[in-house]
């Protein structure tokens, strides 16, 4: 028994279009469910970390996000804060909770993502300073640049990006709370109108209202709780903040640096990973991560995903609840929750047999930030 950090509970609200509920109310619901799932009570919570999501955090700048939620929850914690790392934020606050509980700063830390992006307007069509003058809007433009470069350098084809979208929908069809439960064919994908070429709407994540929370505590504290905890075997961050000035910025992700650190802590390698919950704001990011984490060679991500390999029943399942492309935009926290459900054998018809090791990632902003977790059982 030690102060080693574990995941003791998970919970989330409904996801989709929920105009009658504020992000704040959804966050309260997710926190309550996660604490209850852990078999803990509100008074046990002495840490609160929040990821306010793209609208609350970046566009509306709700500051300090943790204070608004913490006040409502009546918390006087020994550790708190909010982080804005884009899509890397949910895994980042879990990482920070791991460091905090292992250092004795708090014993039970709740990490929560929440946003009302779908009931807001203009959430993802934002401009980038002076680049707006050139019509460079939205995260989709940046990722389309990466896709085009990958297609040019490695011969990656749109059908291969489409495999990622098709697999996500097939997984979501088996996920009761998913936003897009209708399966997609490669033909649907290839005939869709282009959005920002080479990407179409099926390459892009959903926009959602909803909140999701995870409870981090110590192995010792979790010993007498109702569900066996999920151990955090490794965690790491790596970032590429220099953007265009960095030669490889659009060709590989900082996952190439955070992956080996997290795998090293866990004492495992890519071949030991049974399923991956990869941040999938755009299909191209899944291909890049499959390469940069070492599941395949650089440039071979497109070939790797062919023939349903990452779909249900495939030899390397990715985003088994449908991910950002089909489950919901959960900031990355839903990826963590799905990994926990798989490792606790609670995933129902989408359960990956004998899942022992799961990789979870976060990726954000202008392809600038990246976070990695390795979870076990």
């Amino acid at each position: 028994m030690s102060r080693r950090a574990v995941i003791a509970g998970v919970g989330h609200s409904a996801f989709g279009k929920l105009p009658d509920q504020s992000a704040w109310a959804l966050e309260v619901e997710a926190v309550s469910k996660a604490v209850s799932d852990a078999g803990l009570a509100p008074r046990d919570v002495d840490g609160l970390l929040t990821d306010p999501g793209p609208v609350q955090g970046i566009l509306e700048g709700i500051t300090p996000h943790f204070l608004r939620l913490g006040a409502q929850l009546g918390l006087n914690p020994t550790y708190t804060g909010s982080e804005i790392l884009g899509g890397a934020g949910s895994v980042a606050i879990i990482e920070r909770a791991v460091l905090a509980v292992e250092a004795g700063q708090c014993d039970v830390c709740v990490c929560v993502y929440g946003d009302s992006a779908l009931s807001s307007t203009g959430a993802y069509g934002y401009g980038r300073g002076d680049e707006s003058a050139f019509g460079f809007f939205g995260a989709v433009g940046l990722h389309a640049l990466a896709a085009q470069r990958h297609m040019h350098t490695y011969g990656t084809r749109r059908e291969q990006l489409g495999e990622v979208a098709v697999a996500a929908r097939a997984h979501a069809a088996r996920t009761p709370h998913a936003q897009k439960r209708r399966e997609l064919s490669i033909d649907d994908y290839m005939t869709a109108d282009p959005l920002v070429e080479p990407l179409c709407r099926f390459d892009c994540c959903l926009v959602s209202d909803g909140a999701a929370a995870v409870v981090i505590t110590t192995e010792e504290r979790a010993a007498d709780l109702r569900i066996p905890p999920v151990p955090i075997l490794g965690h790491a961050q790596a970032h590429s903040l220099s953007t265009y000035a960095s030669a490889g910025h659009f060709e590989s992700l900082p996952a190439a640096r955070s992956g080996p650190v997290a795998f090293g802590q866990a004492g495992v390698g890519p071949s030991d990973v049974d399923l991956a919950l990869l941040y999938d704001c755009f299909t191209i990011v899944v291909l890049l991560q499959l390469e940069d984490y070492g599941f395949c060679k650089k440039g071979e991500g497109g070939a790797f995903v062919e023939q349903g390999r990452i779909g249900p029943g495939g030899s390397f399942p990715v985003n088994t609840s449908g991910g950002l492309l089909a489950e919901a935009y959960g900031g990355g926290m839903l990826h963590v929750i799905e990994a926990v459900r798989q490792l606790r054998r609670e995933a129902g018809e989408r359960q990956v047999a004998d899942a022992e090791v799961a990789l979870v990632s976060g990726h954000g902003l202008g392809m600038n930030t990246h976070t990695t977790l390795v979870l076990g059982r």
Partner: protein, 147 residues
């Protein structure tokens, strides 16, 4: 044209004013470190390579190549009707910048294609855009697909 339909314009600040002023005089200038000679964009308070604050500007040739590009097929802003091409251009001198490829059909743009600077008016600004060095005149004139 109402304000809402006008294209978005640059918003110069203390660090970028000189860049946009130079464009208005049809010069593309990058930031240059006086200590390590590193050239960079966008302009800012220090050299990203050595953190020196002793900075100058240097006019560049206007030659470059398309590192990658995308075609906006959906209109995001009423002042910027689709289709149009946004590219990350690698200047011959090193720095990369987001710009547009103009003077040819979107279908004629290719990764690694050599391009050259052209200035185009947007409100009170001259925007540094790029056009293909070869074959663009024919393509634009015929409206044809050069790819």
């Amino acid at each position: 044209m109402s304000d809402a339909e006008a294209p978005p314009l640059p918003q110069p600040d203390a660090h970028t004013q000189a860049f946009w002023d130079a464009c208005r005089e049809r010069r593309l200038e990058v930031s240059a470190c006086r200590d390590c000679d590193h050239l960079f964009l966008p302009p800012g308070p220090c050299c990203p390579q050595c953190w020196s604050t002793s900075l100058a500007t240097r006019a560049v040739s206007g030659g470059g190549s398309v590192y990658s590009y995308v075609v906006y097929r959906r209109t995001y802003h009423p002042g910027m009707p689709a289709p149009y091409v946004v590219a990350l251009v690698s200047l011959d001198e090193g720095p990369r910048m987001i710009s547009n490829i103009v003077g040819c059909e979107p279908e004629a743009v290719e990764v690694d294609m050599p391009v050259r600077l052209v200035f185009e008016t947007a409100g009170e600004f001259l925007l540094p855009r790029f056009e293909p060095i070869s074959a663009c005149a024919t393509s634009a004139a015929t409206g044809g697909n050069a790819s």
